[in-house]
Symmetry: C2
Subunit: 213 residues, 2 copies
C-alpha cells in the first residue's frame, strides 16, 4: 500500500511537491486545505493552472510575460520607449516597476550567460536586444542584471555586441550609439558598513558619487 | 495597471498565494517555475487539482480520504477490525501508519471539539463512531487525539458517549464495553529533560511505567 490512502490525493501532493522548495509534508497540508474548500474554489485553482501555459504569451518586443502580443509596458504611450532596461527575468521587471523610479521599457533576457549551466548567448534574448537597438531610436540601455560573475559577464558581452553594431570607422552609422549604463552598486540603503561585505564596501568607495548637500 | 504583466499569470499567483503559508513572492516564483516546464507537465499539474475534489471520496466506515467507498485500511483483511484508533484528521492516520506500530483500523473525526472555533460534536464524525461501536465486535478504542485542551475535551466527550451506549443497569447489553485507552504522554524520545515543559515532565513522573530491565 502506498503512504497515501488515495491515488488522487497522492497525485495532487506529488504535483505540489514537485515545485521548488515545497516538501511532501507541506504539499499534503496544502492539498488537504484545498479539499476543505468549495468545489468552485478548487475548480478555479485547477483552471488557473490549466490556462497558465496555454494562454500566457511573451511580448514580441521585450519578451516579458503578457496576455497579448505586446505587453502592457511596450504598448503604453506614456512610457519612454527610447530607454531600454535589460533584466534577467520577469520578476526583475516587476521589482523595478514596484520602485516607481523607472519610466522606460524593458528587455527580458530570460537568464544570464553561465557556462557552468550551459547557458550561452544563444539561449538568451540577446540577438533580439541587439536588433531592437540596431533600429536606432534608443537613447540609453540600462544594464540591470544581477551583480554576480554571470551578470557581469553578460553585461560585458552585451556591451561588446552593442559596440559592434556601431562601427567607429567606415561609413557613419545611420543610427547613433546609445548610452550604456549599469545599475549603481554600493552599500544597500539602511545597511551598517560593518555588516557590508568587503567587495561591495570597496567598490562603494572607488565609485563614490558627488555629495549634493 | 496591475502589478503583474499578465492576468493569467496573476490569477495563477493568486490561487497559489491563497494557500496557507504561501506568500505572493513565493507564489510568483512557483508559477514562473511552472511556466518553464513542458506543456504536458503543467497540464498534469492542473488536472491533478481538477480531479482532486471531484474524485476523492471519504471512506464510509472510517471517513479517511479514499478513492473508493471503503478505504484500503478498512477493506484490508490483514488489519485487526476490532481495534479502532480515533484520530483528528487524515494526516494523523498517515503519521501512525508510518510508525508501523499499529495494525487496527481508524476513525477520522475531522477535527476536535472547539467551542472557540464553533466546532461542536455535531460537526465531527462522533455519532458515526458511536454507531460503529454500538454494533459490538470492538475490543478496544484508542483515543489518539492531540494532547491539547480541545483534544482532552473530545477524549472525555467520546468516553462518556461510549459509556452511555453500554448501560450498567437494566437488561444486560448485547455487546460488551470496549476497552478505552489513550496514547501515552511523556517525554519525547531523544529529548533532554531540561528542555521538556513542566506539565509534560510532571505527568511523565505521575504516569511512570514499570521498568523492564
Amino acid at each position: 500500500m502506498s503512504d497515501y490512502p488515495s491515488i488522487v490525493l497522492e497525485q495532487a501532493v506529488n504535483q505540489l511537491a514537485s515545485l521548488p522548495g515545497v516538501g511532501r509534508r507541506t504539499a499534503l497540508r496544502l492539498v488537504l486545505h484545498l479539499l476543505r474548500q468549495s468545489d468552485q474554489d478548487v475548480e478555479a485553482f485547477a483552471s488557473a493552472f490549466a490556462r497558465l501555459k496555454k494562454e500566457i504569451i511573451y511580448c514580441r518586443v521585450c519578451h516579458n510575460i503578457s496576455d497579448s502580443e505586446l505587453c502592457p509596458i511596450c504598448s503604453s504611450t506614456r512610457r519612454d520607449h527610447s530607454t531600454i532596461c535589460v533584466v534577467e527575468n520577469v520578476q526583475d521587471v516587476m521589482s523595478i516597476e514596484n520602485t516607481g523610479q523607472y519610466n522606460g521599457v524593458y528587455h527580458v533576457l530570460g537568464g544570464v550567460i553561465s557556462p557552468m549551466e550551459g547557458i550561452g548567448p544563444k539561449e538568451l534574448e540577446i540577438d533580439s536586444l541587439i536588433e531592437r537597438i540596431s533600429k536606432g531610436d534608443i537613447a540609453e540601455v540600462i544594464l540591470a542584471l544581477p551583480t554576480t560573475m554571470e551578470g557581469d559577464t553578460t553585461n560585458f558581452y552585451i556591451y561588446r555586441r552593442i559596440q559592434n553594431v556601431f562601427p567607429v570607422t567606415g561609413n557613419p552609422s545611420p543610427v547613433t550609439l546609445p548610452k550604456i549604463s549599469q545599475i549603481a552598486r554600493g552599500v544597500a540603503v539602511g545597511n551598517q558598513l560593518e555588516y557590508t561585505d568587503e567587495i561591495t564596501l570597496g567598490r562603494s568607495i572607488v565609485n563614490r558619487t558627488e555629495f549634493k548637500g
